[in-house]
């Protein structure tokens, strides 16, 4: 079955063709990095305007580069839950028009479920149950994946998402945007033991996360030196800050695996592209005899292939949406 996926929940306009929930035929992503750099963050209205400008081109490119015709599409899936409302609206409006005019089923997908499927797409043999860490600019969530489409949330961020902390720190030190890739790169030249930053909630038994305090403590540590116009060791700061986040993410994920007695973990979302995170996860999992899976780099950040794959799974469960499908900007991740 050929599914067209559409994703516009934040600042990426994306469309993709996926066959049978497994084979990615095309994966088109138009990023708004130029705008992010200019404004230092996502401006919802500007992002929504850009989505409207690009959505037609991106869909056409996904169909054409997938080597298919519109008539061959058998279902349309779009991110309808979780994201910026004005942005979600554009993708869902396009998906509804496609579903109506092609007379094929429409599926509304929760963005988080999409990220889980990014890993399934990349690693078709990944077993269930497993523990999935979804970590991006918008989410930091530990999920027990009982089965495809059956989830239990074990932990969530109480304030900032991990990727958001990367962005805010990068913004504060004026080193660029988005923060994840910039800090990842700077860290390779820095000493990750140069500064000892706090590991929030690491000592507590909760599987929830909190990164707001870490961010503040990093900022406070350098305020006086910034005021004195000192040149800061940004490489060391980046590496030490990244190490604190990685430490928390890996430890909590492994604790969840041990509590649930599963020997498989998956890491997904934009931050799963972070090289140090992958390295520490791989080493720690190897020591504990746990298998760890990451998505292909092209499927880490927001994309529509993962939405098509999740939509296909949902459709197989008999969960097609009506043409009155609406968007829910802050929907709980249904289990």
């Amino acid at each position: 079955m050929l599914v067209l996926g559409v994703e516009t929940s934040c600042d990426e306009t994306a469309a993709a063709l996926v066959a049978d929930g497994k084979v990615v035929l095309s994966n088109v992503i138009a990023t708004q990095l130029d705008l992010l750099n200019k404004y230092g963050g996502v401006v919802p209205e500007i992002a929504a305007r850009r989505h409207t400008e690009l959505i037609g081109y991106v869909i056409k490119e996904a169909v054409d580069s997938g080597g298919k015709t519109l008539a061959e599409i058998e279902a349309v899936a779009a991110t309808s839950k979780n994201g910026l409302i004005g942005c979600l609206l554009v993708g869902v409006a396009a998906a509804k028009a496609l579903s109506y005019s092609l007379r094929v089923p429409l599926i509304g997908v929760h963005h988080i479920e999409g990220h889980i499927f990014a890993n399934i797409l990349s690693n078709p043999k990944m077993p269930v149950p497993h523990i999935c860490l979804t970590v991006s600019g918008g989410h930091t969530m530990l999920i027990y994946v009982h089965d495809y489409c059956k989830y239990e949330i074990l932990g969530n961020t109480l304030d900032d998402a991990a990727g958001e902390a990367f962005d805010k720190i990068a913004k504060f030190f004026g080193i660029g945007f988005p923060g994840g890739p910039v800090i990842d790169e700077l860290s390779t030249k820095g000493d990750r033991k140069a500064f000892r930053f706090p590991r929030p909630l690491l000592g507590s038994s909760t599987l929830d996360f909190s990164f707001s305090g870490l961010k503040t403590s990093v900022i406070n540590a350098f305020k006086s030196r910034i005021a004195a116009n000192e040149v800061l060791p940004v490489e060391d700061i980046a590496a030490s800050f990244q190490e604190a986040i990685v430490d928390v993410l890996v430890s909590k994920t492994l604790r969840a695996a041990s509590e649930r007695q599963v020997s498989v973990v998956s890491v997904t979302g934009g931050v799963s592209a972070n090289r140090r995170l992958r390295e520490v996860f791989s080493n720690a999992c190897q020591r504990k005899g746990i298998e760890v899976f990451f998505p292909k780099l092209s499927l880490c950040t927001d994309n529509a292939a993962m939405i098509a794959a999740a939509g296909y799974a949902r459709l197989k469960e008999g969960e097609a949406a009506g043409l009155d499908l609406n968007v829910i900007p802050s929907a709980p991740f249904e289990v």
Partner: protein, 246 residues
């Protein structure tokens, strides 16, 4: 020519279907701030009422706004994707012109007026002539009182809040002895379809993929950055309307 007209820039989903100069159906579905939920079923109802299917439609007209930014994007997106899939031509129509068109039988000039938020309005002045309307002014965005300076002869104000705005301007016009009329009205799908058809007849179509709303205003953050010409990526300047959480 059978043309489907869509306008979601106001608080209704306005959908009309025409065939030449005949109106086959024309609906203003209550949408309030939720144009998305029923837009496609609204289109299906209007086509059904016209005894047509989507495949029978030969061209699509889309109201481009100005109006609700979120609302107008829904009609524009749905209209252009329908045109892309059915391989039909698409024509964007300024909503101000669609409003003027529905008032085309008056004997005065027509000023279409739409709420632009924060005590400002979008407006344009049209001359009705032989069942058509011709725009005489630039598109106006600004203070409603300043709009009076553009009007020197008898005028009919039309738009979703024409009554309210004309009341604000009336003292000025009375002091200048300019006669004004009011025709409170919402955008109509049939008017969008008629104006689109007129463009099709002249061989004018818009690019199906690149069609965009007519916002007439920058977003707040963009205006802020332009005004202070700052680069917010540096030094962590916080901007209104910027969410740093991604």
């Amino acid at each position: 020519m059978k043309v489907l007209g869509i306008d979601t820039s106001s608080y209704v989903n306005a959908i009309g279907v025409i065939d030449g100069d005949k109106i086959l159906s024309d609906f203003t579905f209550e949408a309030k701030t939720d144009s998305l939920k029923n837009i496609v079923t609204n289109i299906d109802s209007a086509l059904g009422k016209a005894n047509l299917t989507l495949e029978d439609v030969q061209g699509i007209g889309v109201g481009l706004g100005p109006g609700s930014w979120t609302g107008v994007r829904i009609g524009v997106t749905v209209g252009k994707i329908l045109a892309y899939v059915t391989k039909r031509p698409v024509a964007g129509v300024p909503t101000l012109e669609a409003l003027a068109y529905n008032a085309r039988n008056v004997t005065t000039l027509i000023c279409s007026i739409i709420n632009a938020g924060r005590d400002t309005v979008y407006a344009a002045i049209y001359r009705p002539q032989k069942g058509a309307v011709t725009r005489l002014s630039e598109y106006y965005v600004g203070d409603v009182q300043k709009l009076t300076e553009m009007i020197t002869e008898p005028t009919t104000f039309t738009g979703p809040e024409a009554q309210f705005y004309s009341k604000l301007m009336r003292p000025t016009f009375e002091s200048q002895s300019i006669n004004i009329e009011v025709m409170e009205d919402i955008p109509r799908g049939y008017a969008v379809a008629m104006l689109a058809e007129a463009r099709f007849q002249k061989g004018q179509t818009d690019n199906v993929l690149s069609l965009e709303p007519m916002y007439l205003k920058e977003s707040t953050a963009k205006a802020f950055v332009n005004r202070y010409s700052i680069n917010a990526g540096v030094k962590g300047q916080d901007l209104p309307g910027v969410s740093s959480g991604r």
